[in-house]
């Protein structure tokens, strides 16, 4: 898979990556830790309705979205930064999305800049927000 930079104008939407997050996925992700990310009773004791999905899960969502779309370019030069702004619980459906916000030509091709976020299907809220960038050949 190889994406050409001239196929990515500002405003281009990267194909999304979404999943319904189950307790099993949360536990697999955060094991071997035993806390509110893996134990339902611990989460409820803190006042949460269900297991709280650990923040690094969304690194996986973003990285899978960008690996699928940008391919090797993501593996060898992708950058990502995001803030976790709302908690996500097991049972909710989250979709990672990104849109091209800038294109900066350079000696190696074009650096493509993106706004990236995760969106909760149940209410449309953005649960994490950030930016990413990847270097593509011309």
């Amino acid at each position: 898979m190889s994406v050409r930079s001239d196929e990515l104008p500002v405003g281009f939407e990267v194909p999304a990556f979404g999943r319904s997050l189950t307790r099993a996925m949360a536990i697999t992700h955060a094991s071997p830790m035993k806390n509110f990310h893996t134990v339902l009773e611990d989460a409820r004791a803190l006042g949460y309705p269900d297991i709280v999905i650990a923040g690094p899960m969304f690194t996986c969502f973003f990285s899978e979205m960008f690996t699928r779309f940008f391919g090797a370019a993501w593996i060898t030069g992708g950058t990502l930064q995001f803030k976790l702004v709302k908690p996500v619980f097991a049972g909710q459906t989250i979709t990672a999305r990104a849109v091209v916000t800038g294109r900066e030509p350079n000696a190696d091709g074009v650096r493509v800049e993106l706004e990236a976020w995760c969106e909760r299907e149940e209410d449309g809220a953005r649960t994490c927000v950030g930016t990413a960038a990847v270097q593509l050949s011309a």
Binding site: F61, G77, T79
Partner: protein, 148 residues
Amino acid sequence: MASWSDGIEPGLDLGTRELVITPDWIEKYAGSIDDRNPWYSVDSPFGGPIAPAAVFNYEMELFGGWHPPNIKGHILNTDQTWEFHRPMRPGQTILLKGRVHARYENRGREYISMEATAWDEDGQLLCRTVTTHAWPVQHADPGVEPAP
């Protein structure tokens, strides 16, 4: 510059962990997101399978020595930064180095950022991450001024 009586300050070395990227580890990643990309088990543009770029996504949580004792209230992950430099392979031995990157207070919360860098056995940087955690402030350290 602020200082903390517990010694957990920017630059504090959290140690180096030698890790082997096993098929079980990759399967754990795949199970976490309910997705099995054939790049991680069959073939990739790099020739043969690679590990997911973010295979280390949870490893910062497993470093010790970065949070003060007796924290009241739970710790929340607030920010993540990642740079991916080179592919990693199943079976590859990785050196993961951790250190405290920053520590500060803001609006009633205390924050600690940790940096991890992953290196191959030839000393090439594979990826870098900075992850930040926060919890309610619970002491009035004279060296710390809350941000406005």
